[in-house]
Symmetry: C2
Subunit: 325 residues, 2 copies
């Protein structure tokens, strides 16, 4: 069925019936999936020798009205219609990346944890269905400090989800959000975001490693400054052999809106002008190099390529493959 407001509101999210695949106790009964469960939301592909697993954390819907600062609603609805998406609400999906190389597991961003929309929060079931266990994560790399990227680090009750992982964050993102004076002077609508950053990071503040732009922060993964969405928002180039993947993070929100119309500014972009410059620069580079790209908010599995088209671009999803290519 086509996504419409009615179906989005009416449908219950069927939790992924993920057998606890990582557990080693074979005497446990095999969990039987609900007869009508969706397939687990993970997708594997290779970048050189690095195995990438896209892991989905469900979705949240957002009214279109007021979502884009500098476009009229009819223009936004037209873009939605061209993408065969609903005309009143945008389903925004969340897809993190898991990198595995030489037995080391690195996450890039963590999803909503147990603090997102009721239609999100499927990340852990999908991560386990892909054969991973949170205790085996060596490194968590964070692109920026919005809740849908960091809340998977720490549950509502305070539990650290990746107990053995080193946590790496952009240095200027840390400096912005951890500044007490700035938090105290922040407008009321921003205070929650500051408090959430403290909730997630305060208990481990002394251990968090801060990285700069243009550094190889784990083998093969180089940070790229991509400010505007937030002050320290970071993209990455993943390289191994001839393989390359541009990891865009939130350079755009949904590609059907912001890849097609790179000048449009979502309300989530803290500095709209800077975000627009970053978006043009990154999309230009991706199109010119015909590079494979990944976007946090592109439809799962959230990877594809960028083609120049008219005054904007088009996101062309990869062809799903049963073989891991």
């Amino acid at each position: 069925m086509t996504l419409t407001r009615r179906t989005l509101l009416a449908s219950s999210v069927i939790p992924v019936a993920a057998p606890a695949l990582a557990q080693t106790n074979n005497s446990m009964p095999t969990p039987q999936p609900s007869a009508s469960a969706q397939a687990p939301g993970f997708y594997r592909y290779k970048v050189g020798d690095i195995e990438v697993t896209a892991v989905n954390d469900g979705f949240a819907t957002r009214p279109l009205e007021g979502f884009i600062r500098n476009a009229e609603l009819p223009a936004v609805q037209k873009a939605m219609e061209e993408a065969f998406l609903p005309k009143d609400r945008l389903p925004i999906t969340f897809t993190t990346l898991v990198l595995r190389q030489n037995g080391r597991v690195t996450l890039i961003d963590t999803g909503n944890g147990d603090l997102g929309a009721p239609t999100s929060g499927t990340w852990m079931a999908n991560f386990r269905a892909a054969g991973f266990d949170p205790a085996q994560v060596n490194t968590v790399v964070i692109s920026h400090f919005h809740g849908d990227h960091i809340n998977g680090l720490r549950l509502k009750d305070g539990t650290a989800v990746f107990p053995k992982a080193e946590i790496m964050v952009p240095a200027n993102e840390w400096d912005f959000w951890m500044d007490e004076t700035r938090m105290n002077q922040a407008p009321e609508g921003m205070k929650g975001a500051f408090q959430n950053v403290h909730r997630v990071f305060d208990p481990v503040a002394k251990d968090v490693k801060r990285y700069e732009a243009d550094k190889e922060i784990v083998p093969g993964l180089t940070s790229i400054a991509a400010p505007g969405h937030t002050p320290g928002h970071t993209s990455y180039m993943l390289s191994s052999g001839a393989g390359k993947l541009m990891i865009m993070s939130d350079v755009t929100n949904h590609p059907a809106l912001f890849v097609r119309n790179p000048d449009w500014a979502a309300v989530f972009d803290m500095d709209a002008d800077q975000a627009r410059q970053t978006r043009h620069r990154m999309l230009d580079m991706a199109a010119a190099e015909r590079a494979q790209v990944a976007f946090y908010h592109a439809p799962f599995p959230a990877t594809g390529h960028i083609a120049k088209e008219g005054s904007g671009y088009r996101f062309v999803p990869v062809q799903w493959s049963s073989a891991i290519l």
Copy 2:
């Protein structure tokens, strides 16, 4: 990694590590997935009250040279490049549909069984991963008699795969392929196809039910004559409440080539002119009605919409949803 000839040839197909989910014997040990298995290739969506499950049967690659009768290789390569696909070989995927309504299970087409390319044959593992068992299939509807659609009915060793299912085939497809005189007079290159039809259907010939066009062959599923690809090639309209799905079968092979360029004729089309007329008629209807469509050879999950674009059309895949919409 982007699909290239090198990666397609180099990659081994990792069999889907599907726990035998349909089995009821909980004392069996839980199968552990290979750490690097792809997610099972099934995807669920709703058409009104009918639950549709797209089940993938892997892929086969085909050299581009000589694949299209009426286009020069550079033009074909350009279309592949625009879709970020390889320039020498086309990865053709296979995706069948499973319909469930009021506890009845209907298949539309069956995949390659154990007679396809080494990169195909994943259908049964995916079907079981989706919670189905072949013994529960009530009806198998066949669109046409090419091996990648019928070979899943019967294994190489003669075993009937869906022992309790009624098998329904297009009457004119049956008449064409089961005609002894035509088989004997067929050119050498066609004899194998005739023999394969006999291999699959002879043991159950008296029980096979033949259906006409424009008939509701199972509740909600109406046959549509779509000749050209084969003489009796059939598409379908699936309807339930306000939900509709145009099931195209092989009205096109890969959408990146034949939805974009509906006048191009693949070597698989037995009557290229008739297939072209059928293709234009069906794509026109899909675009005009903004109907959701499914194609057997579109990239998994093989469902989306058709937009008019220039002298051709564009296939816009659905946004993958963790909720079953």
